[in-house]
């Protein structure tokens, strides 16, 4: 079984990957595995993994968060507001 996840990326990570895309992941995949799948498609993002944060359905979430079919995830580089 697999599930489809919508992914967004921002700023530098967007430039190195895509604004939006869809990933097909195994059931029970985590946010970390969503990153790995995106990085497999866009290897240029991988060096930024230590600094990136993940969001799950619009909220910051730990990498070990389990995803479900239809979820929205986002990958965010270090923020620079203010």
């Amino acid at each position: 079984m697999s599930m489809r996840i919508s992914v967004r990326a921002f700023a530098l990570l967007r430039e190195l990957s895509a604004d939006r895309c869809e990933l097909e992941l195994a059931d029970g995949a985590t946010l970390a595995q969503a990153w790995d799948a995106l990085a497999a498609r866009y290897p240029a993002i991988e060096p930024h993994r230590p600094y990136a944060r993940g969001a799950h359905n619009g909220t910051y979430a730990p990498w070990e968060t389990s995803l479900a079919d239809g979820d929205d995830v986002a990958f965010l580089p270090p923020v620079s507001g203010g």
Partner: protein, 137 residues
């Protein structure tokens, strides 16, 4: 409480006037303006902020509510996105309280929380190109 992201210039005076609590004797306003110099002293022509809008709106509301609850103040905060010209306010934070201690502390808390977790990214535009702002500044 007022919080939001705006593509248009911020009316700081209106934000202050929105916090008209008769029992609040202290009003602190912090304005972060677009500077014409980067941290490595290059000439900056303008700034552009990219934002994860849906998430930023909820994070900013959460930051403002947290400050109101923790310090017993009223908070109004607006952050710009899109193009911001040099000298314009990129962020404005107004806190009001019965006394200055809480108003200052809450105001500081809001800007530090923005720097830590508002999903927004600053791009500095130079005469000869542009770059994402590196974290830590």
């Amino acid at each position: 409480m007022t919080s939001g992201l705006s593509i248009d210039p911020i009316d700081v005076r209106a934000l202050e006037e929105g916090l008209a609590h008769r029992g609040h004797g202290a009003v602190v306003t912090f304005v972060g303006r677009a500077r014409d110099r980067s941290d490595d002293a290059r000439q900056v022509v303008e700034l552009e902020y990219e934002v994860f809008l849906e998430m930023a709106e909820s994070v900013l509301a959460e930051i403002a509510a947290e400050a109101e609850h923790r310090f017993g103040v009223a908070v109004a905060v607006i952050h710009r996105h899109g193009l911001v010209r040099i000298g314009e306010a990129a962020v404005a934070i107004v806190t009001s309280a019965p006394h200055r201690e809480e108003a200052y502390a809450a105001n500081r808390h809001v800007i530090e929380a923005i720097k830590e977790r508002l999903p927004i990214w600053k791009r500095e535009r130079f005469a000869d190109g542009s770059e994402w702002k590196r974290p830590g500044a």
